[in-house]
């Protein structure tokens, strides 16, 4: 597949602007009706899903060129958070705006039209296998002192993949450390790849570097196979999306993939984790895009589009619709609800139409101002619920919120679901 394969799709966009808003049925206020950070921050029509579909067509028709100087800004200043995709699919059964936008990125990357600030990141990645401008040798420092299986030499049922952010963000090390404690205490046969854990490639894929992604995906799948693991558990939503959706889609490698909150939900249900303390805390939960609407399982489909009744477009056989319905929304909420004392408030935009934290698809790395503005919008929304703490299940969201709060001089508390589980045990 390449951008050219989406020509029919981009012809069929009705340019209705649903992609700029949350699904209209869910609009509860003026302020939080907006669904797309990119268009809200940048004003021009081109910074929306439909705008990018128009641009894709203009590109395919050679009305514009990949080499137009302003194009990378338009194409890459977007988290690919997918709220547009959900809103579009409320009414459309035949459009995949997110897929088009991703392929538009691949097209630009193919031509070398990437934001120049990518260069150090990609150079370091190629050398050190991480997205954090850090050294590979330091990757397992978070696990120092934990008696964990080293899956480069030992075997285990479950491989815990913590991802680049949690491996190198010292302030967040408590998250994987908690995960390890919980898993070991529950008697799970778990290990890590340690220094040899590689970047999942998911963020690279969204940034447009699908080629790099493929290399990492191939590596990781091999490493898991060598370790004899049947299940991959990850504490990171970005990694979850990569493993759950992209790996099977791009490499046909089915693997049992669980986000740590799914695993905890199971353990709590089985009584393997019990809470001793009450946490009297008003919280609101932020759905990470990559765990929610984009964390839907990949269901393989091969088929064709055909027309019935004249011009009605259908897929034969039935094609799975990734409209956000099957993301992971309830597992983290169920874990939170099971903690005594916690009061959970919902933000206006939640589940499949949650507002993005601003960190995804390379925006934090490439355009920090836009990234923090997006986080700030979410923080405002969290405040509006009356919650004292903003809880998420993704280190990228948490880091972005922390930094944005820092910049604003705000003091809203930010937690990972695991933090609260740890505190209540």
């Amino acid at each position: 597949m390449g951008l050219e394969d989406f020509k029919a799709m981009v012809h069929r966009c009705s340019r209705c602007s649903y992609c700029k808003w949350i699904p209209f049925a869910h609009v509860k206020s003026w302020r939080f009706a907006k669904g797309c950070p990119s268009i809200e921050y940048h004003s021009f029509q081109s910074y929306s899903a439909s705008g990018r579909l128009c641009i894709s067509l203009a590109l395919l028709e050679e009305r514009i060129s990949c080499f137009d100087e302003g194009l990378p800004d338009i194409v890459f200043k977007c988290m690919l958070d997918g709220c547009c995709d959900v809103a579009c699919k409320v009414c459309r059964y035949d459009l995949e705006p997110l897929e088009v936008m991703r392929n538009l990125r691949f097209r630009l990357i193919d031509n070398g039209c990437f934001p120049i600030q990518d260069i150090p990141l990609i150079d370091n990645l190629r050398k050190e296998d991480n997205m954090m401008m850090a050294r590979k040798a330091d990757r397992a420092n978070w696990a120092a002192g934990l008696s964990l299986k080293d899956l480069t030499t030992e075997k285990a049922d479950v491989v815990l993949h913590v991802g680049c952010r949690l491996s190198f963000d010292e302030e967040l090390w408590r998250i994987p450390q908690t995960a390890v404690t919980l898993l070991l205490d529950a008697g799970v046969d778990v290990g890590i790849l340690g220094r040899d854990e590689n970047c999942c490639g998911g963020r690279l894929y969204d940034m447009g570097y699908r080629g790099e992604f493929l290399k990492y995906a191939e590596n990781n799948i091999d490493a898991w196979r060598n370790a004899g693991a049947t299940t991959v558990v990850t504490t990171c939503s970005d990694c979850y999306h990569a493993f759950k959706r992209l790996y099977p889609e791009e490499l046909h490698a089915p693997m049992n993939v669980l986000h740590i909150t799914e695993f905890l939900e199971q353990l709590i249900a089985k009584g393997k984790i019990a809470f001793k303390k009450s946490l009297p805390l008003k919280i609101t939960y932020h759905d990470p895009c990559h765990l929610g609407r984009r964390g839907e399982p990949y269901i393989p489909w091969e088929g064709r589009q055909k027309k019935i009744r004249g011009q009605i477009l259908v897929y034969e056989p039935r094609k799975p619709r990734n409209n956000g319905a099957c993301g992971v929304y309830d597992a983290p909420r169920n874990v939170l609800r099971s903690i005594p004392g916690i009061q959970l408030f919902e933000m206006e935009r939640n589940r499949e139409f949650a507002w993005c934290c601003g960190a995804g698809a390379g925006v934090r790395e490439r355009y920090p101002e836009f990234s923090f503005w997006t986080a700030g919008e979410r923080i405002e929304e969290a405040y509006a619920t009356g919650a004292e703490a903003l809880v998420s299940a993704c280190p990228h969201c948490e880091r972005n919120f922390l930094d944005a709060l820092d910049q604003r001089g705000d003091s809203l508390k930010v937690f990972d679901v695991l933090d609260l589980v740890r505190e209540a045990r």
């Binding site: 480069t152 030499t153 191939e218 590596n219 091999d222 196979r225 060598n226």
Partner: protein
Amino acid sequence: MNSYNGIMVYVEFGENGLLPITRQLLGCGRKIADELGEPLSAVIVGSKGIEEGSDAAQLGADTVYIVEHELLRQYRTETYVAALEQLVRQQRPTALLMGQTYVGRDLAPSLAFRLETIAVLDCIALEIDHASRVLLLTKPVCGGNAVATFTSMYYPQIITIRDKAMLPMEPSFGKNAHVVHFAVSLEPRSFKTRLIKKVKEEGEGLRLEEAAVIISGGRGIGGAEGFRQLHETAAILHAAVGGSRPACDNRGVAPNRQIGITGKIVSPDLYIAVGISGSIQQMSGCGQAKRIVAINKDPDAPIFKYADFGVVGDWKKVFPSFSAKLKELVS
């Protein structure tokens, strides 16, 4: 093909006489020449006495040109280009074949541009399109990810050919060639380069080109430290040690021990690849080995598509016991 006629082979010597590639060039040159109905010539360039011991007349060519000059004692691009330019301008061969050696890959392009033509380097196949009598020149490109076939309408066609890509000329083919001493005039002051030092750096063990067994290491071996183990094992097997490009860049082995598309092309009886993934760039250099044995921790590494025997595992763990066992078996 207007006034160009004949296939000319550039003869190269090593320490032990004629390089094997020269035989291969002659074999290929003879075949092409016969198909075109044109004569085959060979050219020997050097200083006085260069042809001695080579039995120039028995090379299998119809004519052998001997180009001797004091300034041609050692290979230098400028002098050799100047000398060959004079010969080729006079003889106007259809094609000049050279080996893809350190000399050939340096000499061919300069000479080609001097003659306002173009060279094609590192060919692995040479055929004639019978309808047009044009040479079809086939070579690997993109680091071996593809094979390209070129033609050119510019003569003489200057071609280098990869070692072992062609069969050597049958020794029985020898006949008495017409030996011509071609006088060149070289003006010392016109040259801008001077060889000031030549250092042999074969390092430990056998030369890659001559070894029946090669042990080769990849990026994972690390620097010289890691390669020491490979050298020790090589000593047991009378093997030569080589490395991939990353291994060379890591200073694990000397640059002239690089095996691959930009290094040496080898075809030993046994090639032991340690920690080598088997990328196409690497395999271009050793794909002709009779047997390949691989140790690599990645079960899907491409090397296992080439290898006869393989072990999946970290070389640091596999290799010492392998080496110890070998020692036991060989002694």
